[in-house]
């Protein structure tokens, strides 16, 4: 039963995911598991300098070894943006596939393909490059100062060339209401600087591409991507191959977390090599190369909030500088999202925002699960705790007084994507979570002595479900679904949407089974590619269930209508009086007239009859744009223990509550929250990729030995991690469902940080809160 009073047959049931069998047997094939006969192995020559100019490059020896070699000269000099989610007026282009002006250690200069990986490596090492080494700039605040090194002279906005001044990649300012007046009315005004880290996605599967050149001049591509259609569009944009001859296969992803929203560079590099060699080419990065390929955005916030003594917020001002590394993947849309995340947490009668994205000679930043929301939420939730303390209010009550909820305007994905919130379970999440964790019994900040100190913290947040809206805006967001009914009553579901692992496609299958009244087993998620699917923008923005599921539901409705119409002919009944029920024994759906004995036919028999009578295929194809992007809400209550001798923090207990509308896959939904907490834990206390100021390279040089992510031993026991769902009904979602993937993480780091502060009575303004930082803070506190 859901909150709306509807009871479901399939949705909300614990079912075995369809791809589970292949995955436990080691038979699931990811991009790097594909091999072609006669394929060449590729390696990429990368800049050893953070900032340089290629004076000359000599590839003759490599070619003499029999390798196919490409440099920037072999690829059309098309400046592009690897992420095609935004519309042209919101898309900055500053990338080349291979460059003669490397802007970070690891930027591809040339590539080779040879008969074996070893031969390719040998050829690579024989390439002679003469560099003019330029002064690098690694700190975003230094980068903004005049007179320093400039990374880009000009870049493209859409097709228009724009000059870059002071390494400012792009900026955004937004204001609403009278901010000065708002701060004037406040009894308490706090202003703080917050700094986050540059994290690495550390997705288990490294970036990989296999490309087969086809006889018609096209290419077939098996690669790591969250969007097969945008990959195809980009390859068309760079190489001019007709779109219909570019076939990108939908594959499972070994985790991605945003690192393949954009097309990974391995794809165009492998395409260029395959076209030149006239043979299949496989390019799989090493882990060290992968860590030189993408990172999260580092943000430096200056936040000012004002509140009245009764706890009501009056005004807010936020200035953000974001280190985006050497190129723009989606910096401009992110500037919009950050203000959206900020103003959609708590009601601010007046607000002012300035966001600036700055180039540095570092690995390019891209979205990482939450897209700036985890950082923003940590900042806001840290200050909200401080404000509550300043006005003498329980931090939980302070949140309840100010949160953006039902009926309020939600800034979804920024100022261009606004909608009204129609479902919200925030209050219930906070009340139930507080009870489960024992919020009332939490210690007073700083009251503990002794070596081990415990604290309880709260982090509350949300994320959008898709980037849908009532108007077009600057973000593309729609999905496609094709359904075909087969002669044995089974259903083929064809979609371009990639499952990152969370089970989006499993949810679609359940939605289809629910709507059609058939057993879940008969809905097959079939293999698909760009040539056989309708467009889907990308699996990002927690849109898998909400937007992709929305398309699947509409396709199922259409097919159902056709089934009932044909059944009405056969049964001599009226289509609107017919229903479908699943027959587990027959393993398919049965169409029947209620209450009339004998008036029934299985979907298989009906479809077979349709074939014999030449009525045609019972099928539907739907392209669906969601008209909203409803927030799904979460809160984490974390109890931690700080060892004041070593500075180490240990999670003791976690309680997490979520409002995701109708819950479709309960165990997978819980799994999202478990994983979201682990990633939030990493953000809070573990993860960063500092740079070596001498070499301009990552200090860890790409070795994950020195990039710690949480292990099983670092996480709390199963019984100490409680997850609950507050079920609401989202009227715009499929069967009332919303997204989950990102809110599952967004407030986790905030909860951990607030718990540490609760334990120690010290606040931290920089992430990660490492043992060194904790010990230093304790020393300073005395």
């Amino acid at each position: 039963m859901s909150m709306s009073g509807k009871s479901f047959r399939v949705l909300g049931e614990r079912t075995a995911r369809k791809d589970g069998l292949a995955r436990v047997r080691g038979l699931e094939r990811y991009a790097s598991d594909y091999y072609l006969r006669n394929m060449l192995h590729a390696r990429v020559l990368k800049s050893p300098y953070p900032h340089a100019r290629v004076r000359s490059i000599d590839v003759s020896e490599a070619e003499g070894l029999g390798a196919t070699v490409i440099t920037f000269r072999d690829i059309p000099r098309v400046r592009f943006c690897p992420r095609l989610v935004s519309t042209p007026e919101a898309t900055y282009k500053d990338w080349l596939v291979l460059t003669d002006r490397p802007l970070y250690v690891g930027e591809p200069i040339a590539a080779v393909a040879a008969e074996s990986e070893e031969e390719a490596q040998r050829a690579l090492e024989s390439i002679r490059v003469e560099y003019e080494v330029l002064e690098p700039i690694l700190d975003p605040l230094d980068s903004m100062r005049p007179g320093g090194p400039q990374l880009h002279e000009t870049i493209l906005l859409g097709d228009e060339e724009v000059r870059v001044e002071g390494n400012l990649a792009c900026r955004l300012e937004v204001a609403e209401g009278d901010v000065e007046k708002g701060f004037g009315e406040a009894d308490v005004v706090l202003e703080r600087e917050y700094r986050t880290s540059r994290r690495y996605h550390s997705q288990l599967e490294v970036k990989s591409a296999l490309v087969n050149p086809e006889p018609d001049g096209g290419v077939s591509i098996w690669c790591t991507t969250q969007t097969i259609h945008n990959t195809r569009l980009l390859i068309h944009e760079i190489f001019g191959i007709p779109t219909s001859r570019i076939r990108v296969y939908r594959l499972p992803l070994g985790g991605s977390f945003g690192s393949s929203i954009h097309t990974n560079l391995v794809v165009p590099i492998a395409v260029a090599l395959a076209l030149k060699a006239g043979r299949p080419v496989k390019l799989a990065y090493t882990r060290e190369e992968d860590m030189h390929d993408h990172s999260s955005y580092q943000m430096i916030f200056r936040l000012k909030l004002g509140a009245k003594r009764d706890g009501r917020l009056t005004a807010g001002e936020l200035d953000m500088v974001m280190d985006i590394g050497a190129h723009q993947v989606q910096a401009y849309p992110l500037l919009g999202c950050v203000v959206g995340w900020w103003v959609s947490l708590y009601k601010l009668p007046s607000k002012r925002y300035r966001g600036r994205a700055i180039y540095t000679n570092k690995v390019p930043s891209c979205a990482m699960r939450g897209y700036g929301n985890p950082q923003t939420t940590w900042m806001v939730e840290s200050m909200v705790d401080e404000l509550a303390e300043a006005v003498g209010m329980d931090p939980l009550e302070f949140r309840l007084k100010n949160y953006v909820g039902k009926g309020d305007i939600f800034w979804g994905q920024g100022p261009t994507v606004k909608s009204v919130i129609e479902s919200c379970g925030v209050e219930e999440i906070l009340r139930r979570g507080a009870e489960l964790i024992g919020w009332d019994k939490r210690p007073k900040p700083g009251e503990q002595r002794g070596r081990y100190r415990r604290g309880i913290g709260l982090g509350r947040g949300f994320h959008t479900s898709s980037a849908g809206a009532a108007v077009p805006g600057t973000v593309v967001d729609y999905s496609g679904a094709i359904l075909k009914v087969n002669e044995d009553g089974t259903i083929d579901y064809i979609t371009a949407m990639v499952d990152q692992g969370g089970g989006s496609l499993e949810a679609h299958a359940k939605i289809i089974a629910e709507e059609l009244g058939v057993p879940l087993e008969v809905v097959n998620i079939v293999a698909a590619d760009t040539q056989t699917t309708l467009y889907d923008v990308c699996t990002h923005a927690s849109r898998g269930v909400y937007a992709g599921g929305g398309a699947a539901l509409r396709a199922a409705r259409e097919v159902k209508g056709k089934l009932l119409e044909l059944a009405a002919r056969v049964l001599d009944a009226y289509p609107h009086a017919l229903e479908i029920r699943p027959d587990e024994e027959l393993g398919q759906g049965i169409i029947y007239a209620r209450g009339v004995e004998g008036k029934e036919i299985t979907i298989g028999d009906l479809t077979t009859m349709a074939r014999h009578k030449n009525w045609g295929t019972i099928a539907s194809a739907v392209s669906f744009r969601p008209g909203s992007c409803p927030p799904h809400f979460t809160a984490f209550f974390a109890e931690v223990e700080v060892d004041t001798s070593t500075g180490r923090v240990r999670p003791v207990r976690v309680v997490a509550g979520a409002d995701i509308g109708t819950v479709i896959n309960p165990d997978l939904a819980e799994g999202q929250i478990h994983g979201g907490f682990a990633m939030g834990w990493g953000l809070a206390v573990l993860e960063d990729t500092p740079y070596d100021p001498e070499t301009g390279d990552l200090l860890c040089r790409g070795y994950i030995t020195d990039y710690k992510v949480p292990t099983a031993a670092d996480m709390p026991d199963v019984e100490d991690f409680k997850v609950f769902f507050v079920e609401t009904h989202e009227p715009t979602g499929p069967f009332g469902a919303k997204g989950l993937g990102e809110a599952a993480k967004n407030p986790a780091a905030a909860a951990v940080a607030n718990a540490i502060s609760n334990a120690l009575g010290v606040r931290f303004y920089e992430l990660p809160i490492t043992p060194d930082r904790i010990l230093k803070a304790l020393r300073e506190k005395g």
Binding site: R14, E205, Q500, G671, G675
Partner: protein, 156 residues
Amino acid sequence: MRIEFTLNGRRRRVDVEPNQLLLNLLRDELGLTGAKYGCGIGVCGACTVLLDGEPVLSCLILAVEVDGKTVETIEGLGEGGRLDPLQEAFIETGAIQCGFCTPGFIMAAKALLEENPEPTEREIREYLKGNLCRCTGYVNIVKAVKLAAERAKYLT
């Protein structure tokens, strides 16, 4: 070099290079892609296989080292077309998300349960801390190992 070893119950004779890694032999030559490359330096555990019953990282083992020995990979798990209790438990508890780390986890957990059929939760977590997962937060994986251990106990 010619080596001979037992792979998932079958005798295999193959020619290998002296510097060839077991992981590459399995994946590139023998078509067994269940063991994954995740780091190549023995940190992530995605390439875990059993060598004479012991869990090893196939990215750190030379193919020549398995000469005369027995190698078991994820593809060889389960008997007579039936899944191993660990495989069943991983499906049932929602322990699989992207699935990339799953084969490594199942092989490591297999070795754990052979060594210690009734592990405590902390023992499970300690044993599996050499296998990284970025999706699940490990909760459902630990549940799966517990469930498989309980079922095995019940069976014996």
